[in-house]
Amino acid sequence: MEAHAAAEQHHGPPPANVSSRIDARVLGMLLFIGSEIMLFGSFFTAYFFVRVVNHDSWPAKGTHLPVFVAGINTAILVTSSFTMHWALTSIKRGNRAGMRAGLALTFFMGLTFLLTQIAEYSRIGFAPNDSAFATIFFSLTGLHGMHVFIGLLLLLAATIRAFRGHYTPEHHHGVEIPGIYWHFVDVMWIVVYVTVYVL
């Protein structure tokens, strides 16, 4: 009887069908990252075309990539994934201090990575319009840098909410979803670093 009364009082469209296999918010991030993988794929296609098919010298004559500095930056970014994982593991166990520390450390390491990359750009000694190599170098690393910037915004929001007392061991999607994105950004950097700087 009560259910019938509640149904009569309900206005608006019926609730959307929800899959029991995956949360709608996680599905949204999954689809977004899928589109990002395609975007990075198009940039890597251009990269391999310039490097392999176009027979340009690699790296272009007179250019030198700061492999060591980028390697340190890679270590910083990879470490930030571990602190991100620590943050989520902490909140799942009810450890708020661990979550806050993990999120703050992840944010500051990501910021360090981005600032180091900007400093690298200012001292690298070539411009995007110097050669095809320079264009694709700045395109790939710049695209990744933009993703780090977006990740930092997500992390900042999660960190502020964490310090305001949000998130519980049962409800922590606000940490989990930026975490998935942050690991994706890290994996993409590993691919960029190995293919552009090392190989």
Binding site: S20, R21, I22, V26, M29, L30, I33, G34, V78, S81, M84, H85, L88, V175, E176, G179, I180, H183, F184, D186, V187, I190, V191, V194, V198, L199
Partner: protein, 72 residues
Amino acid sequence: MATPPSRRTWNPLRSEQEAFQFLIAAMGYFGAIAIASAFGGVWAGVSVFAVLTVASVAWLLNRNRHLDPPAT
């Protein structure tokens, strides 16, 4: 009811835990290729790339073969 993690198709973007595992796997995969290229040259790198890629695909296919069909 959610499917237990051990009985699901592996998806690196489903949860932070799986994304983190994927990151560790990517570090091992690309690290091995880079080390092989640095010490053994181009063809050593290509060989490690081929072996690891085939092994990864075989592991993935073998893992998914034993999973329950999706609940409908």
